[in-house]
Symmetry: D2
Subunit: 401 residues, 4 copies
């Protein structure tokens, strides 16, 4: 079998998650990192036709002019990445940096736009932006001899969009790309359109709109492509989707579930804008009412606390009634390093998406539901049950199962 080189194209390529994924991929290729944190390396997925770490090539879009090394150095200063690992992969980071192209700021909101310092065309129509992004993707694939490219959106959280304002078919949405005033989808969706039109897969790891509208799912299917999202499930929400089912199974009535999150990375700075925060909070909150038979009072806060750096700390307080109405309490704190939790999932998603392509799947990749806070087309919100679906999918046509 000829070697098949696969591309990873990261939107927000110099952010914390992207940089950590890149450093991690380099470390995996060089034998400097173990497989901890990588779902695709579990025994359940051994023997699958997943791409090798050494066959993955990285590029991406970005709106800021700092370097991958700058971001990586900041993460090392926050004790997320080891300084010594960083020193050993500087050259590879520089090579990847050279493959990063300017993104688009269409409808990203003022907070994100204010971060941009690359020369980004600001008077393009959405269609022109898509054409430019598409050209970047195609040049990347061609010059690196790639069989396929998976686009992963790990950019900062966009303000929430009104999904109902997006026409439900691609035929209706497509003409609006010519109008900067009327086009109802933001940057994250333009990247998705560019991906589908180039034959790339698209994964939305953020709470942005991306390929969520039905019109974009239709486009993916029309072009024989595939996508999944949205919003990677890495910390507090992962715990919610793990713990809430336990309360449901035991018929314990959750009365209130309060979650306070503090952290200090760039994503935190963006989320400090209430508009951007709204999208995130909505994505973190809805699943409780889907899992629990009686929706509890919920509260989710996300606050930017500079000293925390990339370390997100969540405190959750659950108040619940047991037998005879007696009220009890569970609390947890989660002290996780955000980028380190997200980055391996980005690599996993690329591998599983590529495997889906090899298996001929198009449209929404529902078997990836366990990776997302708001999995498209998936009703089940119990993490363990979502994971069973992934295991069962992996087994299909696989003689080890």
């Amino acid at each position: 079998m000829a070697k098949r080189r696969i591309g990873i194209w990261l939107i927000g390529a110099r952010g914390g998650v992207a940089t950590t994924a890149i450093v991690g991929l380099v470390a995996l290729r060089n034998g400097q990192a173990g497989t901890t944190g990588l779902v695709s390396e579990l025994p359940s997925f051994a023997g699958l036709d997943l791409p090798d770490w050494k066959d993955l090539v990285v590029g991406g879009h970005e709106i800021r002019s700092l370097s991958l090394l700058d971001t990586a150095t900041r993460l090392a200063g926050e004790q997320a990445i080891d300084h010594r690992l960083l020193e050993s992969c500087q050259d590879e980071l520089a090579q990847i940096d050279a493959r990063i192209r300017p993104g688009t700021l269409y409808r990203v909101g003022p907070t994100i736009a204010g971060l941009a310092d690359l020369e980004i065309p600001r008077d393009e129509t959405p269609r022109e932006a898509v054409a430019r992004l598409q050209a970047d993707l195609e040049a990347f694939a061609t010059s690196n001899h790639l069989e396929h490219v998976v686009v992963v959106n790990v950019a900062s959280t966009e303000p929430p969009m009104d999904l109902s304002a997006v026409p439900s078919s691609w035929r209706q949405l497509e003409p609006l790309l010519d109008s900067p005033e009327q086009c109802p989808v933001p940057a994250s969706s333009l990247y998705a359109i560019a991906a589908f039109e180039s034959g790339c897969s698209y994964i939305n790891f953020t709470p942005a709109l991306g390929a969520t509208p039905a019109a974009l799912d239709e486009l993916a299917q029309l072009r024989g492509s595939r996508h999944m999202g949205y919003d990677g499930k890495t910390g507090e929400t992962l715990l919610k989707s793990t713990l809430a089912p336990m309360f449901a199974r035991r018929n314990l009535q959750v009365l209130s579930w309060v979650g306070h999150n503090i952290f200090g990375n760039l994503d935190g700075r963006v989320l400090d804008n209430p508009v951007n925060k709204a999208a995130k909070v909505r994505s973190k909150d809805h699943l409780l009412s889907q899992i629990l038979p009686q929706a509890p009072q919920t509260l989710v806060s996300i606050e930017y606390i500079e000293s925390m750096g990339d370390w997100k700390t969540a405190w959750d307080h659950l108040h619940f009634a047991g037998f005879l109405g007696t009220r009890m309490t569970m609390q947890f704190t989660w002290q996780g390093c955000d980028s380190l939790l997200a980055a391996p999932l980005v690599l996993d998603l690329v591998r599983f998406t590529e495997l889906a392509r090899r298996r001929g799947e198009t449209g929404t990749l529902k078997f990836l539901g366990s990776f997302f806070k708001s999995p498209l087309g998936v009703e089940e919100q119990s993490f363990e049950r979502q994971f069973l679906v992934l295991e069962q999918w992996a087994c299909q046509g696989h003689d080890q199962c």
Copy 2:
């Protein structure tokens, strides 16, 4: 269909769990309690041929002379049960009290024996004790016109027994019942033998030996009976079996898992004896190494803190490595009322066990694995996957599935 009255026979019938189950059952029958905390009342189990609350009759064995009302009053003082509920069910408690008979102290250890103040024969052989217990069960069934009796062991934790010292077949074990010196099984097993010989089912809600030995499982099958255990999974261990799978699925390496438990009820006083505590700690600890691919360093403590009363507070500290080896932390505290968490499960287990009988099942009831810290014959320790087994079992031959 004629009305079928079913008996619940509680070992440790005046303890906190038993008393709460009894108060709860009375409240359910009188329409004074909701179904919160009762697994068998979930929609997943609607339409099954489970016994009605009003068809359940309670009796039991006990070694102490206090009354059910004494225990219930203590629980109300600890804010576990509402004083006003108590007042309304005093008469029913007194009726049930009259059906409680003296238990046995065979090999229960000095701490439990020291609690006994009922007139309990202390010079019986194990065989004589079994015969006496059996007579109690049969009199209970006869005088109350019961179709079947489910014996549930909710007594205090016995010291750990050496399972390997118990002969592996009933034919070898049976003759040893004549010798108080040589009989290698404790009170909890004598109750199980009496249950099987009387055609009753046996559920072991404690970490005691009970029907765990193969010889007793054989006896259950010989007599067409059934059993399950051991050690009800109600709090910290329930959380372990819920959270540990999440770390396993995400390939996060748990380095250490420390759990400290404090509480102040009678069970706590008994567990303050290091010998009794050993059995409990073992039961709370083993499942992590079954769920997690690399066994973490673990520590479990259970300490008697008088002021806590029936409120068990657990603090767990999980230290884990993520991608690139970065170490992160999760902590939780669980403030649960022990008896209130356990009592509804006792009622659920009786209902499901009776349904298994109606379905003709004998031997080990593995489908009840989700209820126990150490489920007999069950490898799977993930709570959510254990619960799926229960749901699938419920569906068998049931047109709603």
Copy 3:
């Protein structure tokens, strides 16, 4: 020495704090309560000429028509007060209820005004309101043969007022009482004015304006009266003023201090209005920058979570740098019953204020600084050092010291 009867006049007399103080006072008089939680009962204050519990008579102002028993019953349902204690003091509660008079709604904001259902004059000028309140106070003193009355404001939190808009002398402020449009002080200050004009002392246990303006302090001194405030220090802020000094003494640099508070009582409902909340947050937050040499980033949230009832739970996360810049973390959770923490301090403040009167003190009672989040005229914010001032004051002219 002739027996001296002293009045306690509570603003917000049917709220949770007032009701708990009343139930507690009745219980103390009847020998049904111990002295736990009462500062004035500590050995350090033994032998002082403090009024006896049996010499205290209660009345108050209120804007709602529910009864003291209604509030007390709600508190019992939330497990703050014991049901049985309540039953035994119903008659005394009814007697006190009969002494409660309608308050004023002047500038209390729409949230508080919306709670009012007593017939409260809404077209009075501030001067007319003061006159009416004053008449209530004087009738209370006369008909109960009181030597002195201490007015304590335990009403809900008013919206923050602009202190700089209040003239700095009484001579300038006084004429504005005639104008409902121009009078720049709210209800809490009108109660203070009525108190001073009647010769009563005034204690502000809330973050409302009360007697904070210099013009009111002047009035207190002109009338030979005394006052102190503001905002009782009972939970999270008490801990801040205890813990922050430790970090300061050890030269540990607090980088960020985040405090999230959740609770579900009426005060919580009022604070759910962001305007009212602002006053509270300000009062809870400022002291850190006074204690710590380098002001940390701070965040304080107060959220209404209905299921919590009177139980306020605070989670605080402290991030600090130690030697060589190494960053460390402290977290605490505080699960306190708000009314039960505040109520004994109300009784203590009445006793100490009356003692100050007996000692001839007028103006701001700075020695009471340890009781308040924002103690008037007190720079020191370390609780332990504030308490030393109270102990030293107690010793003055007292032979036990």
Copy 4:
């Protein structure tokens, strides 16, 4: 004024605390570290005649053959010290390493003795050991032209000794030094004797016996020397001595105070031996009953959890009764880096001890009480009140106060 060079002689000189103090001192001298964590650098102590960082010279006793750099590298791997700081002070560490001499193992217990791999005389009499240690101290002072040497014991925790077995006068204790069988004091005391006989001051930063016996205090005074101890107060106990006074002042009755500590450094390995642990637990536990009027039930555990490294995490659970007996809860977790918390205090203690010498003080230095879990000769256990004593002492004869 001629420059006065002062020696710091560390017992356990290659342990975590000593190594961190050494790295920190080098960093302070080189301007690479700020003053965070150093009490003696607070404004309250500005202007005092404290030795400069550049005038301090370090030596010490040790029983292990690893190097300071080995320990420092381990601490850097545990994210206690920054790798880059370490690289810049390697030469200075090597110079100090050369001044470290073999210690004594007299009565240190098997766990500590098992760590020794330096060539340490094992058949010396206690007197011979003292003479050898004394010679080391005197050679250090002479060859480094030191005006004075402060010996600080930061070795691992010895097993608890029976203080009542030590004669109460030096005249009685001194002859026993000839008998390895009869001499009732351990290594920590032999170091103290050697210190006093050489005119050095002695600070006991551990829970070992050290100079605690009255006979050694007498010797210190006879030789015009001074000492203080014992057991540095750096984390959980510091919090106890800060929080417990708050409960006492507010008359809140602490019913139980449970503290669980986990950590993974060498001290943790030694404390994993129950005999050594007993000394530590006793030192951490006693102060609550001194501060609180009614002694609560207490529980202290210290457990070795390897993955934690130098990061000690404490969980404390406080259960307390408030007004009307209502029970409430406070919990805290402390995640501190043990060596980084202790090391600056070692440097502070040397400076303050030297200042006491310059002021002509001998015997027990009670003004240092705030630094110790069990301060010799000090009744007061409130940290804030102990600190006031330090501030007042600093002011004596100092014109800034």
